[in-house]
């Protein structure tokens, strides 16, 4: 079994129009820029994208939105230092937004990966974001019911990956990546380095290979923050 493939393009070419996509990262940390840019080159449209944010500047997720490939965004915080791309698309009514509190977003994704179709949370009880959701009291406190989130594909970014898909992450770039790997039918992981099987200590594996479909080595991956400081526009 060898899950490595050689280029981001080979992975994302499997993504059809209309697909639901989870894209890892919190802001730029852990954002799989090369996979996203390959997806822009590939051109799949009418996508539903699940990400914590809505992109920054004109690279990565912001560029995907700028290319009008995203029909709907599910996220918690669609603001950034340079949010012009999403803001304009949203205000022009070109993109649908489902706003989800960050912890609820994380838990819904985990639930999707863990086979839990619904769960109760105190978060957002009594607020606009709870409207229309079932609510119930447990042990004297009110909770709302939230549903799992799943996706057809996840695009994630790891640090090390082995041929079975075992992954580690670099520092705070872990964020949503391990959860999204669990919740998608097909998970593509770009990693800074592919190591031989056994190259990751069994106790240090963060995402076991069972959650990963393919591993793509992208040495020296781009960082969104640095691209934006250099005012890069993709494509």
């Amino acid at each position: 079994m060898d899950k490595t493939i050689h280029a981001p393009a080979v992975a994302v070419s499997q993504i059809p129009d209309g697909a639901t996509l989870m894209i890892g990262g919190f802001g730029g940390a852990g954002a799989p820029i090369e996979l996203i840019h390959a997806l822009i080159d590939h051109g799949a449209k009418d996508l539903t994208v699940i990400n914590n944010n809505a992109g920054n500047g004109h690279v990565g997720l912001a560029a995907l939105i700028e290319q009008k490939q995203v029909r709907k965004l599910i996220c918690s915080f669609p603001r950034s230092a340079d949010p012009v791309v999403f803001t304009e698309a949203y205000q022009a009514g070109e993109i649908e937004l489902e706003l989800v509190p960050q912890g609820t977003l994380a838990e819904r994704i985990r639930a999707g990966g863990a086979g839990v179709p619904a769960f109760y949370t105190p978060t957002a009880y009594g607020t606009k974001l709870a409207e229309g959701k079932p609510q119930e009291e447990f042990e004297g406190r009110m909770y709302i019911r939230e549903r799992w989130l799943k996706a057809d594909f996840a695009l994630i970014k790891g640090e090390l990956g082995d041929p079975h898909g075992n992954l580690t992450y670099r520092m705070a770039s872990r964020n949503f990546n391990p959860l999204m790997a669990m919740a998608a039918t097909t998970t593509f992981a770009q990693v800074s380095r592919v190591v031989p099987l056994g190259g990751i200590d069994p106790e240090h594996v963060v995402t076991p290979g069972i959650f990963v479909s393919n591993v793509i080595e992208v040495a020296d991956p781009a960082q969104e923050e640095e691209l934006n400081r250099a005012k890069v526009v993709y494509p």
Binding site: G115, H164, P202, V205
Partner: protein, 229 residues
């Protein structure tokens, strides 16, 4: 009823037969005991990744006696080893793999399997201490659930039945049975016979089966290595 004790397959032969269906790259959980035998017969040109629900994926064989590390065990609490590719994780992640549908196959033993796919394998319904472990999680959520079993009980009663009499482990969950006489799929609430050992007639096989055996194509001869008999 036919005497089948002389013609039936051995447990090793049943396990061998099950192993032939495991695809390259499949993620597989083997139940404690009899199903664990399947790992021994994994075809060399196909690599399966075994999951142990106590929190290990892709582990190696048992260590030599006396070299056990009792922090490195499988769900049967037997000592195992690590190998390149092994990973450890906690119970919630382990059962996220199970419940989330990430396992391609779970192979378990059975007291009874109904034609609906209902499985009874955790409680004989009598007294004693009940114990369930991870069986209810596995049967409800693995993509395919296969059962290894003698075709009949020690008393000669069918284990493939119209409806389970014993407490259920899961409903409509079993997809394929490897028995000591046959290979049977469950399709649309029916037992569908795929293979039988050549030394039993279809009529006699039906006599030791508690619900109708359907066919929807040729019934293949079930031939297993004699060396495992």
């Amino acid at each position: 009823m036919t005497d089948i004790t002389d013609i039936k397959l051995s447990n090793a032969q049943i396990a061998w037969r099950a192993a032939q269906d495991i695809e390259d790259g499949a993620y597989v959980n083997l139940g404690i005991g009899f199903p664990e035998l399947v790992a021994r017969f994994q075809p060399e040109d196909r690599q399966a990744i075994f999951h142990s629900e106590n929190g290990v994926l892709d582990f190696g064989p048992a260590p030599p006696e006396g070299e056990e590390n009792w922090d490195c065990i499988n769900a049967g609490k037997k000592a195992i080893t690590i190998k390149p590719g092994t990973s450890f994780f906690h119970q919630a992640d382990s059962f996220a793999m199970v419940r989330g549908g990430h396992l391609d196959l779970a192979i378990l033993g059975a007291y009874e399997v109904a034609q609906s796919g209902d499985l009874a394998n955790w409680s004989t319904g009598r007294g004693g201490v009940p114990a369930v472990g991870g069986a209810m999680d596995l049967v409800q959520s693995a993509k395919r659930v296969a059962v290894l079993t003698d075709h009949v009980t020690r008393k000669g009663q069918p284990k493939l039945v119209a409806e389970c009499a014993l407490p259920l482990t899961g409903v409509r969950c079993v997809t394929r049975l490897y028995t000591s006489l046959a290979t049977v799929d469950i399709v649309g609430g029916h037992f569908v016979l795929r293979e039988k050992i050549p030394t039993i007639s279809l009529e006699n096989l039906q006599l030791v089966t508690g619900a109708p055996l359907h066919t929807d194509g040729p019934v293949v001869d079930l031939i297993c290595p004699e060396a495992l008999a």
